[in-house]
């Protein structure tokens, strides 16, 4: 269980700065998720922690030791790749023991570690098979097993579930979470899928264009997003954004709606953010709108409303049926809204 400290880390690739002066502390035993859209630098960051990409400036410390220039095999890490990267001509057993053999580990020790990993990941029956004979989920487990036998302090995951279909993804996500609970190891996980991030992380690092937008627990990041980007990235359907003005009496007004705010915020142009689940359809609600589209989702419905020209999405549970064109009244839970500066997008 190692910790990882990144200090003023900068990475430049092909002349272009990808990561700029990033500071990050990963606590021992935590499951840290690097979340962001493609091109935000999360994969680059992970590869530099692994030592596969050189840092241009700054330092990387793993377990108190400066590993900035160390070789990947000497950093005490294990890594699971998106394409699994299993050696196709070797059996599962050989895949897991190859690195240890190269390092000169005694045979008995190799057998012990491989046995333990196989038992933990239910690979015992598959040890003599080759990767081509395994299913996607099995291959992923072997990839994890290969990282496990290194008995590393930190495990790095590079979008390991992206290549799988939705059902398998959900299944393996749960297995990963159980694995983390059992092992208690430090894990750094890269993904663009916010569902994975929310379900797996102890903390999420939201990244965009090489910079950290927010670090926090899933609850923090979801309920108190630090800026408009984070607010819009997490949650499906996305948060509703309404541009408007805050007056001196803590009232927010925009075309078609007005809301009394519960938090002290400075007056001026602002953007109101409210999640669909906090838009409540009530017969005696203060705001009026009309349904433009209904999306039935099985256990809930998503209603798209037109409110004086503004488009809002709302989530409704329950058996009520709504039709396009239907007029209705709704309210917004002022205790759960977020307000962002109109110019900078930062949280007010």
């Amino acid at each position: 269980m190692s910790n990882v400290h990144l200090r003023k880390l900068s990475i430049t690739l092909g002349g272009k700065p990808i990561i700029r002066e990033l500071d990050l502390n990963v606590e021992p035993g935590e499951f840290l998720v690097l979340l962001g859209p493609s091109g935000c630098g999360k994969s680059t960051l992970l590869h530099s922690i692994a030592g596969l990409i050189d840092a241009s400036a700054g330092s990387i410390e793993i377990d108190g030791q400066d590993m900035t220039l160390a070789d990947p095999s000497e950093r005490g890490i294990g890594m699971v790749f998106q394409s699994y990267a299993l050696y196709p001509t070797m059996t599962v057993k050989d895949n897991m023991s190859f690195g240890l053999k190269m390092a000169g580990t005694p045979k008995a020790e190799i057998a012990r570690r491989v046995g333990r990993a196989a038992e933990m990941l239910q690979l015992d029956a598959l040890l003599s098979r080759k990767p081509a004979q395994l299913s996607g989920g099995q291959r992923q487990r072997v990839a994890i097993g290969r990282a496990l036998v290194r008995e590393a302090g930190v495990f790095l995951f590079d979008e390991p579930l992206s290549n799988l279909d939705a059902k398998l993804r959900a299944e393996l996500r749960r297995e990963l979470k159980l694995l983390h609970a059992r092992l208690g190891s430090t894990m750094i996980y890269v993904t663009h899928d916010q569902v994975e991030a929310m379900t797996l992380a102890t903390r999420i690092v939201v990244m965009e264009k090489g910079a950290v937008q927010q670090i926090g627990t899933p609850a923090d990041v979801y309920e108190r997003p630090a800026n408009r980007f984070v607010a819009g990235f997490l949650g499906a359907p996305a948060m509703n954004f309404i541009d408007g003005e805050i007056d001196l009496h803590q009232r927010f007004s925009a075309r078609g709606l007005a809301l009394a705010l519960r938090q002290p915020v400075p007056a001026g142009a602002a953007t109101l953010g409210v999640r669909p689940e906090h838009v409540r359809i009530e017969a005696d609600g203060p705001l009026a709108g009309a349904v433009t589209l209904v999306e039935p989702m099985g256990n809930h419905q998503v209603l798209w409303l037109d409110c004086g020209g503004q488009v809002l999405s709302a989530i409704v549970h329950g058996p009520d049926v709504y039709t396009a064109g239907q007029a209705l009244r709704f309210g917004i839970d002022a205790a759960r809204v977020s307000l962002f500066d109109a110019a900078s997008g930062g949280r007010l």
Binding site: T12, L13, L52, A55
Partner: protein
């Protein structure tokens, strides 16, 4: 833990392609460059010697080293090779062979490409029953040594009255070029979306209409590759030209061999080398100008199926 004395250089590209990095001047890296440079010298040696020999006078060749640059540059060997050397019956130089090769290569490129395209088109889009087996045998035929088929072909063509003529050699090149041409086009068409074909059929297109209006216009890249491969193969051919072309149409390669290996009297090495360069010129020029297409052709044709 390793401590490195040099600052990390902006190394490999984005995570997608991470090769084993190397610091700039390790002994291993120097070794790589030395090996590659040495290999390059070995590969360039004959080209250099050919060129240099063809520009010297015979006295320099006898006296000096084969590697030495010409002391007195002269293009006389080239002139002699082109218009004076004896290629068997006549002594008009190798230019006759050049034009013969041109006359052979052009139809022997166009025809196989056309037929290869139609074959590839039929095989990949229409897929008639049994066609794949036929294609498999065709491909197998490409590996059969030509000696197995030569004499019966001679008899066949003689029986048809065209043996030893231009049509004969073109036909033979068609027969032997068909497997690779068909393979190239078939693989290329297989990589095109089948939906195009389905849409065309729904629009009412028949076999030839779809080929002419939909498939052929999309075929430019592979036609270029096929042309390069076929021109190179036909121009460089020796054995088929020797047997089937007839005395009046002997290609340049055959005449070149006659010039060099059947000379009586003194051997004019400079003229020989000039003649060799002249013969190798067309495919070499094609190669140097179209390198990438050439490689693409090899990869597409050589990785069978």
């Amino acid at each position: 833990m390793m401590a490195q004395t040099t600052l990390a250089t902006p190394a490999v590209q984005a995570p997608a392609v991470a090769r084993p990095r190397r610091r700039r001047f390790t002994p291993a890296r120097i070794g790589i460059y030395v090996f590659l440079f040495g290999a390059a010298l070995f590969f360039l040696l004959p080209l250099y010697v050919m060129a240099v020999t063809s520009l010297k006078g015979m006295d320099e060749i006898r006296a000096g080293s084969i590697l030495a640059l010409p002391g007195a540059w002269t293009v006389e060997p080239w002139r002699q090779a082109w218009s004076e050397v004896c290629t068997g019956a006549s002594c008009e130089g190798i230019r006759g062979g050049f034009w013969n090769s041109v006359r052979i290569t052009l139809p022997s490129t166009i025809l196989p490409i056309l037929i290869g395209a139609v074959n590839g088109y039929a095989l990949s889009f229409w897929r008639p029953r049994g066609a794949n087996i036929l294609f498999g045998v065709l491909l197998g035929g490409a590996f059969i040594p030509v000696q197995v088929m030569i004499y019966p072909l001679v008899r066949l063509l003689a029986g048809a009255g065209i043996f030893g003529s231009l049509p004969a050699i073109v036909l033979v090149h068609l027969v032997f070029g068909m497997p690779v041409m068909t393979l190239l086009f078939r693989n290329y068409y297989a990589s095109l979306p089948q939906e195009l074909f389905h849409a065309a059929r729904i629009d009412g297109g028949g076999f030839w209409r779809i080929f002419l209006h939909v498939v052929l216009p999309l075929s430019t890249p592979i036609i270029v590759v096929a042309a390069i491969m076929q021109v190179t193969g036909v121009w460089n051919d020796y054995i088929l030209g020797l047997v089937f072309a007839g005395r009046d149409n002997l290609p340049m390669t055959v005449q070149l061999n006659n010039v060099i290996n059947t000379t009586t009297g003194t051997r004019l090495y400079n003229v020989n080398m000039a003649a060799t360069i002249l013969t190798a010129l067309v495919p070499l020029a094609l190669y140097f100008f179209s390198g990438r297409w050439f490689v693409r052709g090899i990869a597409a044709g050589a990785v069978k199926g």
